[in-house]
Amino acid sequence: MIHQYKLNGYNIVLDVFSGSIHIPDDIAYDAIRFLDEGKSEDEAKAALRSAYPGISDEDVEDTFSDINELKEAGKLFSEDVFREVTMDFKKRVTPVKALCLLVAHTCNLNCSYCFAAQGKFKGQEKAGLMSFETGKRALDFLVENSGTRKNLEVDFFGGEPLVNFQVCKDLVAYARSIEKEHNKNFRFTLTTNGIGITDEVIEWANKECYNVVLSLDGRKEVNDRFRVDLGGCGSYDRIVPKFQKLVEARGGKGYYMRGTFTHHNTDFTNDIFHMADDLGFSELSMEPVVTDPSDPCALTEEDLPVLFEQYEILAKDMIRRKRDGKPITFYHYMIDLEHGPCIYKRVSGCGSGTEYMAVTAWGDLYPCHQFVNDPEYKLGDIWNGVTAENIRDEFKLCNVYAKPDCQNCWARLYCAGGCAANALHATGDIHGTYEYGCELFKKRIECALMMKVAESKGDC
């Protein structure tokens, strides 16, 4: 399978199964297209001659010799040999290696689009904080179930985790005290809305957290439309200086400014550029809102072409910035073509419900933070482990080859089958696909690959 497209003046051909990326000239681009349409080599040559009336025999022959050389090397029209990799998925041992700890089911902001409903998640009235004892048991559970995995990831999430900062600190200290004897390496991430950031938090986060995710939607008026406190006041003015201080003190350690865009700011590149140019942040992530289609902030079909254009604007602008020596990182455009994930990772997906789980403040286990409090998806708890093995098996088998819609998708080895939670919410089945998300995903990959092509051409 191949996928070919033209973007920003480049001809791009992706050979889906080998992962190879080619930059053909116009003649070769069309020749590949003719072959992909099912024409024989002779038919394709004839079609090429009629498409390019003045073309020399030499050019035609050279073009096909290039194509055949790539085919023989397994880099063009390569076959899908990976289906078998997924055959044994059920037997696969999947140690747990990442936990999302919902340390606070409460929040000091009241963002109306929050999928976690300020930490109360769906339909749940009780708010609550994770106790140190519960958190400690969660870390022990992780160590016990992580097999030979060395790197263990723990995310402090909520609600707003800094509402329960003392427990976050104590849990990190506990993890550090046990990691050596178990030959583990804990990597902590803090996801915060910024309100609770103090000098002490900054020092701690910069020492202990491998990554921090800082929620900011961009321009003040955009951020303050949703990211408001309980009294309805916008958070921008309070959080931006704190984020800047934290990032400055971080000394190059990983972080992301993470925004959400909605139907109200489909020109979201302006928010990204605001964060980069006016606020000085360079590591940026901006996600489409996940919400019920009836919500006025939900993205619509009509928004789609606008969003596509925005992604192109962003990609082109990032090429310019790189050329000017002032690059920014956009989470979804960060593709590592040479040292990216192996095929196992590419077919097995996000790991929710198997190697990644969410733990509520009271110790219940769910496949991930987006399934929390859906009683149908409760996996078990940190004391008794995973007791709903049928659910875990369902997630284990939910790979890109198990999803009917993904079978003809060229992006599948970049996507791994999409988000199970989005699929469930859109189709009622974790094996479904959230089509809108797929459209955006594919556009982002086209842009990201285009940027790699520009790089390899020496254009940035």
Binding site: G19, P24, A28, V290, H332, Y344, F441
Partner: protein, 49 residues
């Protein structure tokens, strides 16, 4: 090659032989929390090609 340039990429078939150690980051953990994408994850295995 006169008509086609190729960008250097990891060979998927080769990665099937030595890959699969599982040490890499879990996708949703890194930033987005609302969707998956694995392309931007780095491989942690220095021995796998």
């Amino acid at each position: 090659m006169k008509h086609i340039e190729t960008v250097e990429t990891r060979d998927m078939a080769v990665s099937a032989v030595k890959g699969g150690c599982g040490e890499c980051q879990t996708s949703c953990q890194s930033a987005c929390k609302t969707s998956c994408g694995i392309a931007n994850q780095a491989c942690e295995n220095k021995d796998a090609e």
